[in-house]
Amino acid sequence: MRVALFVTCVNDLLYPDTGRAVVTLLERLGVDVDFPTAQTCCGQPQFNTGYRHQTEPLVHRYAAAFDGYDYIVTPSGSCAAMVRENYPRIARRATTEGRDNGLTRAAATTAPRTYELTEFLVDILGVTDVGAYFPHTVTYHPSCHGLRTLGLRDRPRRLLQAVRGLELRELPGAEECCGFGGTFAVKNPHVSTAMGHDKIHNALTTGAPILCGADNSCLMHIDGLLRRHHTPLRTVHLADILASTEEHPYTAPEKTGNLR
């Protein structure tokens, strides 16, 4: 089984620890994971903002970078949804505009092989207990694209429930969007912020000190609000929790630079 990690551009630059956690986790489960360095970005920011044409080269790039792997695994429901849902759409639109340029093939070969991390663990590897240890109380926010586009349902929560030492608390209004929405966060900052504050408020009512999610973009937005208001709640990616063991417990990323 040849498995490639699609780390995503956001994780590559801003949350490398999440990428490392995925590698650690998959290797612990006996998966030989590779990182093709020709990968960059799935094109979601461009596509969702209305720049469909600019995403076409990225569809090709993605297909070329991950050619030959049985599975492409990514710790982002949103990026997985982009490949699975929108690559075929981009190909169809190009075809109706009279220029296929191999996009149909690129989409057809990548979409079915691309898996969000929890799907890959539960559906392909068939595990829910990944042998993790995380002695903390956690509440879980299911990001929209994983929840609705991919239909991840209770997979992330089943994985969390199997973590030793972890107490999972239900998040009120869990299925409501956190307000990130890519460029929405800057095009409609007031609504975005209002939504984020409500999400944080709901998380605080659980009493859990940790808000877990499976998409670092959403967590970046939530974390940005938390830090601004010095709220005693931390965001942690699901992969970081699943990678954590007694021997190698999770350590929070360094908070250096001038950002506390």
């Binding site: 780390v7 994780n11 590559d12 630059l13 949350y15 490398p16 620890d17 990428g19 490392r20 650690t24 990182f35 360095t37 960059t40 970005c41 094109g43 461009q46 596509f47 969702n48 903002t49 209305g50 720049y51 469909r52 600019q54 995403t55 990225l58 790039r61 759409r89 109706t96 929209c144 609705r148 409501e176 307000g179 929405g181 890519g182 460029t183 929405f184 966060a185 800057v186 095009k187 409609n188 900052p189 007031h190 609504v191 975005s192 912020t193 209002a194 939504m195 970046m220 937005h221 974390d223 940005g224 609000l225 830090r227 601004r228 990323p253 360094e254 908070k255 250096t256 001038n258 950002l259």
Partner: protein, 494 residues
């Protein structure tokens, strides 16, 4: 659409004000969450909901595909049943037709059944200009009209008002429109409803002309269908001598059989009821019963243009149930007025810019009024992929492209104010297609990370940092870590 909403600010500016209005947010939150939960229960009762949803979608798609055929059939059937059919190309056209029809009766007052189509064309304002008073008879519409306000929800136009605010509106304004509210009016729902009932009864009994819309038009028999909760609509449809109905052409369905599907999905999606309290169907005119004259004004107003767009046309399946509004987190915070159209929420964000075009700043901002969270698509009883259409319209705004306006194919230019974004997207796309350049960009970011401020100048950047901190840029990218790890994975493992 009408000029009523011209000159309103773009969505982000309007939403900025409404997100600060604590009372408004509390009202909206309470109302949408209540109806949202009820709807979920009502849907869960049906074991065949996915099939009903698929059936509704198929019926609408089939009808839209053969709309010319069914509209002709409808016209023939309505005429045979004693009605008269008028075709209105746009809002002005429709307003003129209705005004002329009312003038011909010699009346200067009409009662109205709640109707989205007449709001879309700004009929009340047009009638007022022609010296005709149009009285809204739906309770919530009445509140909005008395308060000199605008509706903010498709189904519950006064959703943004609470009981106390409604009591005050009745107190202050009812007298100017007819029977005044009693002096000791409380804010108990019972008392409020009774005050409205007495006020409206006078209108019903006096009116000679009624104006309505319709939820469905059945092509095979020329039958119009109106669904409502209060019975006020039925009063308007049966008491007056003349009935004028303004109906969007997409409301057509082929047969009575098709109605069965929507009579299940619409009430459950909108009011969370198994069946709605009043379902009125009527066909043309009948001697000695109901209106003696019946006019059907079939409204295009951008609909055939929308139909010409392969991705956008699914918007016309909409049965105006408002389920998408009630689950939308953006609608809940921004409120209906921010959408600057009688169609707010997710459906408004795709319908309005298609009907009106995207030339104003307001219309061009609507497709961006969504996080693409997909909750609207999930609840839509006719499976309109609202996020798909939103992205499609964003493309038209950001990049320009082909469109149909007034039946003519045209290529529109990108909307103003997207030049910087366009350049940035192009640059990003190029960088991301060249991994060496991407790596270099990342290196620069990690090396200069100590210099990154928490708040950044510039409009786009400050839109993030006004309320949120930026993430800390780590010392190494993942790529960097991986490349140094590869020679001997065991060494650098966590």
């Amino acid at each position: 659409m009408s000029g009523t909403y011209l000159g309103l600010p773009a969505f982000p500016q309007a939403a900025r004000l409404s997100t600060r209005d604590e009372q408004l947010r509390a009202n909206l939150r309470h109302a949408t969450h209540t109806i949202r939960a009820k709807r979920a229960t009502a849907i869960a009762e049906l074991s065949d909901w996915p099939e009903l949803r698929a059936a509704g979608t198929a019926i609408k798609d089939h009808t839209l595909h053969h709309l010319d055929h069914y509209l002709e059939q409808l016209e023939t059937a309505v005429t045979a049943a004693g009605g008269t059919v008028h075709w209105a190309i746009d809002a002005d056209d429709a307003n003129r037709i209705v005004t002329d029809l009312i003038h011909a009766t010699g009346e200067t007052e009409v009662v109205k059944v709640k109707s989205m189509a007449t709001q879309e064309i700004g009929l009340n304002e047009a009638l007022a200009e022609a010296g005709i008073n149009a009285y809204e008879t739906d309770l919530a519409e009445l509140i909005v009209q008395l308060g000199n306000d605008r509706p903010s929800h498709i189904l519950v136009p006064a959703i943004h008002k609470n009981r106390t605010e409604i009591r005050d509106i009745f107190h202050t304004h009812m007298a100017a429109w007819g029977r005044p509210a009693p002096d000791d009016l409380t804010d108990e729902p019972r008392d409020l409803a009774e005050a409205a009932r007495l006020h409206l009864r006078e209108k019903f009994l006096r009116a000679k002309v009624a104006v309505s819309g319709a939820n469905f038009m059945i092509a095979e028999t020329g039958t119009m269908v109106v669904l409502e909760s209060e019975g006020n609509g039925r009063m308007c449809l049966t008491l007056p001598e003349t009935l004028i109905s303004v109906v969007g052409i997409e409301k057509t369905i082929p047969t009575w059989r098709d109605l069965e599907v929507f009579l299940q999905t619409l009430p459950r999606s909108s009011t969370a009821e198994r069946m709605n309290p009043y379902t009125t169907t009527w066909t043309g005119t009948t001697h000695g019963d109901g209106p003696r004259t019946f006019h059907l004004v079939l409204l295009d107003n951008g609909r055939t243009d929308t139909l010409a767009d392969t991705t956008g046309r699914q918007t016309l399946r909409c049965i105006r149930c408002s389920a998408c509004l009630n689950v939308c987190p953006v609608y809940e915070r921004a409120g209906g007025h921010a959408y600057g159209s009688p169609y707010p929420g997710p459906i408004g964000a795709i319908l309005t810019p298609q009907l009106r075009g995207t030339t104003t700043a307001l219309d061009a901002s609507l497709p961006y009024a969504s996080t693409l969270c997909g909750a609207c698509y999930d609840v839509c009883p006719v499976a309109i992929d609202i996020p798909e259409v939103l992205v499609h319209l964003r493309e038209r705004i950001a990049q320009g492209g082909p469109t149909t306006r007034h039946g003519t194919k045209a290529t529109i230019k990108p909307a103003k104010g997207h030049a910087t974004e366009r350049a940035a997207m192009r640059a990003a796309a190029w960088t991301l297609d060249h991994p060496a350049a991407w790596t270099a960009t990342q290196r620069l970011a990690t090396r200069t990370r100590a210099l990154h401020p928490r708040r950044v100048p510039g409009r786009t950047a400050s839109a993030w940092t006004a309320t949120r901190d930026l993430p800390t840029v780590p010392a190494r990218t993942f790529r960097d870590w991986w490349q140094h790890r590869e020679p001997d994975p065991k060494d650098s493992q966590q």
